[in-house]
Amino acid sequence: MHIPDNYLSPATCGTLVVAMAPVWTVSVLTVKAQVKKHHETLPMLGIAASLAFLIMMFNLPIPGGTTAHAVGGTLLAVLIGPWAACLALSVTLLLQALLFGDGGILAFGANALNMAVIMPFVGYGCYRLGQKLHHEKIGLAVGAYLGINAAALIAGVELGLQPLLAHTASGAPLYCPYGLNIAVPAMLSAHLLVAGWVELVFTLLVFQFVKRVAPTNLYQTPVKTNRRPWLALLVGLAILSPLGLLASNTAWGEWDTTELTHLLAQQHLSTQAPQGMVHGFHFQALFSDYAIAGLPVSVGYILSALSAILIFLLLIRGLQHGTETTD
């Protein structure tokens, strides 16, 4: 899954490094907070990075006489926490790119996004969900399988977009020559059929061993987290939502067929909308475009926003663990 150099355009590489910058910042800040409680986390980051290196290097037998290797993203997230795993895996990828020639130097951001963010966080999310439903092993197995496949899917999309993003005037691709129709199935089939199962079995067995031998060495999710920043963010976004009323035109890519036909005609591309869109599935929402019949658009917009916030708050309230006792 390590994307080498020259497979992604410099623009894609740059964008993905920029996208990774806030993730790394939050990781460092979270790990610093984690270090205050568990001092060993600091050296553990480096040691976990070398452990991840060895996991990626170790070939596992698969039926048919060949071998494959695990990545260990979900496993590390469960063992040392997702943010620490993100940092440790990023360091492993940097080492591999700079010292061992595995994975590109420019493509470091893309590889970090796939293997150090998507894989551990998807895996850890599933594991936590399984824990809440009292089936942590099932959650971990699903997380390991989904984590690696989600990462493979994103890697396939990154590669498959290149012929569309960077090509010569004659249409010849400048970087990865395979489009989405080849890159995504190629990446996904290999991971859905082989690598995903290898990752699942490997993660589950190592987790079982550690849990049996030293359960206290597993990452303990903080019981109480400071939710104030998240609440402030949500309230801030809710307050800012009426800004959407200032926009007069339809957002890019959200056109209906009439608008699209008009735009295509303006650009001298076509005089009719694509057939797939014209004859495709059309869902009539209850409050289409946040408008309520008989009310001004602005009132409908605000009422829709308030309704959505209320529904989500009720959902969150309903899913919370109750503290009341039953007699």
Binding site: P43, I47, A49, M57, V91
Partner: protein, 271 residues
């Protein structure tokens, strides 16, 4: 005086030993052990980094590598790429013959692997795209390989520090490389012990691997506790001290000039 008993060897010892060598299948254990030994050899005795005539500051070396890789990725002009290849070729002239052979071997291997992946695109886009892509990828790999060959790990850390990378990252990198060797050694010994004690093929190799890596994680945890205790004992305060002065000299900036010239040509030249 002659001995009464003949000193002939027993018949079973006189019979020629059957030394038929069966072409045994290399098991995944052996393959992993081979890979691990190669890694440990490389970490234990890293090839001495060649000191070029002009010893450049580590951060300049790192910037130079990034600039070159970026330029090669951006440039679609064959002449400019040729210039960059010539530049690298001149640098390679300074390498001792043994190191040069090592460079070529490693570079060819990685280039072949990279080209094999894009080989089927010949039927999609024709030979021109494939050839251009292969040449660019090979040139990038050659530059990265040259950097690896001429830069010791300590210089990489100093370079990152000079470029204001966070201390946590640099310390993590330093610990990772140090403990990669220790954990690798532990893994290899475990595998050798398992192989020595196993008399029949393992029924569930995955269970064994799970136990092995679980054990390795617990070992890592123990190492982390010991390491933190040692760090505290030595007055660790969370800051990574710069070991060598890394001030850039005018020669460092001069060394960037050919790459910058190509960059200017890339921006201004429209053939």
């Amino acid at each position: 005086m002659e001995p009464k008993q003949p000193t002939n060897l027993p018949a079973w010892l006189q019979a020629p030993a059957s030394t038929t060598s069966h072409a045994t299948r290399v098991t995944f254990w052996q393959r992993n052990q081979r890979h691990l030994r190669a890694l440990l050899r490389r970490l234990a005795q890293p090839a001495p980094a060649i000191q070029p005539r002009w010893h450049l500051a580590p951060q300049i070396n790192l910037i130079r590598l990034l600039l070159l890789v970026l330029l090669i990725a951006l440039i679609q002009n064959a002449v400019l790429l040729w210039c960059l290849a010539l530049l690298l070729g001149f640098q390679l002239l300074w390498l001792p013959p043994g190191q040069l052979r090592r460079f070529v071997r490693s570079w060819l291997f990685s280039s072949v692997v990279a080209v094999i992946i894009v080989l089927p695109s010949y039927w999609l886009n024709g030979p021109a795209t494939l050839l251009f892509f292969s040449l660019k990828t090979s040139l990038m790999l050659a530059n990265a390989q040259y950097y690896r060959l001429t830069t010791p790990f300590q210089d990489l850390l100093s370079g990152l520090k000079s470029l204001h990378f966070p201390d946590v990252l640099i310390m993590t990198l330093a610990i990772a490389v140090t403990y990669l060797r220790m954990l690798g050694q532990h893994l290899l010994l475990t595998m050798e012990a398992l192989e020595t004690r196993t008399v029949a093929p393992t029924k569930h190799p995955y269970r064994l691997i799970g136990a092995m890596f679980g054990n390795l994680y617990l070992k890592s945890y123990a190492y982390a506790l010991e390491l933190y205790a040692a760090m505290e004992a030595r007055g660790f305060n969370g800051h990574y001290v710069r070991s060598t002065p890394t001030h850039s000299h005018w020669r460092d900036y001069l060394s960037l000039s050919p790459d910058l010239l190509v960059l200017i040509l890339f921006v201004l030249w429209r053939p």
